[in-house]
């Protein structure tokens, strides 16, 4: 953290004892708009939601619903497979992008595009690419192999894998940028010294790069888990939860219950995912308020 509190700064300002100083009054006035937003649009909705989900029978109904059980499994797969793949790819790709070449500079500008572009058009584009009859992917498969490609979004595991790929496609650029920033912060002379000592690339990674990046890597992974838990678009816009509601994740199934007018189950879903969310949030809060 950049600053600790400055205790002496306070004592420098003589505060009149009788009434509130304009400094303190303005402090409260300027904090008020956010407090208002927070109370009206966070505190009240959350309390109201918890009240709606208060009955234990909601949770019984929820866990009896096979679609919900599948959604939990899918979410866990999403978190462990997609995020690890993404973070490892980001870590390795950052090593590629720190090479100083003009064409790599240009490539890095293009590489940001998936992150810079809104997700709806590109996810729908992927959806059309995967169409079994006229999508470009199966056309290519047919031309190369002379066989029909699979029906990508009509099989549970294929569809879930595609949703994970879309998620990775969209957020890989962001995490690669973070990892590049991390790599650039490592002093260059460490590598020069290692090079003089005859250390191989693998050894350099193991003894210089990784030790200085592992904190960043861990924080990024946790933060990415939180964000991925809330990734509604990758699943909803690609598979719509299908086939047969088998690819829902926690972020989409709550909305599914809402659309079926089962608001209690919808809220119960959110409450049920808190054991997954809160430890991650706690970790991030700890890290950021150090």
């Amino acid at each position: 953290m950049s600053t600790l509190a400055l205790p002496q700064a306070k004592s420098l300002t003589p505060t009149p004892k009788t009434r509130m100083s304009p400094w303190r009054a303005w402090g409260l006035i300027m904090l008020a708009p956010y407090m208002l937003v927070f109370v009206v649009f966070v505190v009240y909705p959350v309390l109201y939601g918890l009240w709606l989900a208060r009955s234990p029978s909601n949770y019984v109904a929820l866990f009896d619903d096979p679609i919900f059980d599948n959604a939990i499994l899918n979410t866990l797969i999403f978190l462990f497979v997609a995020i690890n793949l993404k973070m490892i790819a980001a870590l390795l790709l950052s090593g590629f992008f720190v090479n100083a070449r003009p064409w790599i500079k240009w490539l890095s500008v293009l590489f940001i595009l998936p992150w810079a572009v809104p997700s709806i058009p590109t996810i729908l584009s992927v959806r059309f690419m995967l169409n079994p009859e006229w999508g470009v992917v199966n056309q290519i498969i047919f031309r190369l192999l002379g066989e029909d490609g699979p029906n990508w979004l009509n099989d549970r595991w294929l569809a879930l894998s595609m949703a994970m790929l879309v998620h990775i496609w969209k957020s890989l650029p962001f995490w690669t940028m973070i990892m590049i920033a991390g790599r650039l912060a490592i002093p260059k002379d460490l590598y020069e010294a290692a090079g003089v000592d005859g250390a191989s690339k693998v050894q350099q990674f193991k003894y210089i790069t990784w030790p200085s990046m592992k904190q960043l890597y861990l924080t990024s992974t946790i933060l990415s888990m939180i964000w991925t838990l809330g990734d509604f678009n990758s699943v909803y816009l690609l598979t719509g939860g299908g086939p047969a509601d088998l690819t829902h994740v926690l972020a989409t199934i709550g909305i599914r219950y809402l659309r079926l007018d089962q608001i209690n189950l919808s809220m119960a879903t959110i409450v049920s995912s808190m054991p997954l969310v809160l430890p991650l949030v706690y970790f991030m809060m700890k890290r950021l308020s150090r």
């Binding site: 959350v46 998936p114 950021l288």
Partner: protein
Amino acid sequence: MKNVVTEAKLLLIGIPVAIWTLLPIYNLFVFSISSKDEVFAGRIWPEHPTLRNFETVLREQHHFLGHFWRQLGNSLLIAIAVGVITLLIATTAAFSISRLKTRGGRTVLNLALFTYFIPAAFLAVPMYKAMGVYGLLDNQWALILAMITIASPYAIWVLKQASDKLPFELDEAARIDGASPLQLFVLVYLPLMAPSLVAVGIYALLLAWNEYLYAFLLLSKPEDITLAVALGQFLSADDSPWELLMTTGLLYALPPAAIYYVFKRYMQTGLTAGAVKS
């Protein structure tokens, strides 16, 4: 010789990376310049590229696109409103917490951060319900207020980090000169914070422009919805004109991409530095 090998290795990574990155965007583009018949031919490049789709979209010549300009305007107005109001709320809050050291400021910051870390998709359902109670459903203010709620916590945090870096001697000097808190805020603080303010304003603006989930929950009338929701509605019919959907999607994707590249420098120093601290 060693150089050639290194370059070849780099290319061996670079080419797949380029293909992976561009494929969905390229497909989007090809759809938008293909006629209805050619969309289903699955060619790498259409035999007769055409701008006809753009004409159809811009002239609202299809029943899916009856309100294209209106919806584009909705997206724009909502994004600007969210950007401006978030900036107002977050800047005053960050100033109060960081410079005026308002009692309880630390707690407010932690509450904001907590909100930031609860995935927005989970807050959507209670928010939807509360908007119903407030009578704001189908009102664009519902979406604006919801997006402000989601954008402000991170905005406050980034601005507070940037604000802590300004020297405290400035405040002392201003106080000794008899400046009021408001004068300190407007004359000293805002100019010094300008780069971060740009970053945060753009962040909130893009967040609102790109938002799909909240927009489709909170708005439903064809003349109220944003372009994002309109795009999603193409999926409801089996015989949708995919080439027009992709054309509209391309038009929808261009402004945020352009803004991102124009303000890239601000965004990267202001936001990625704040996003992850190790």
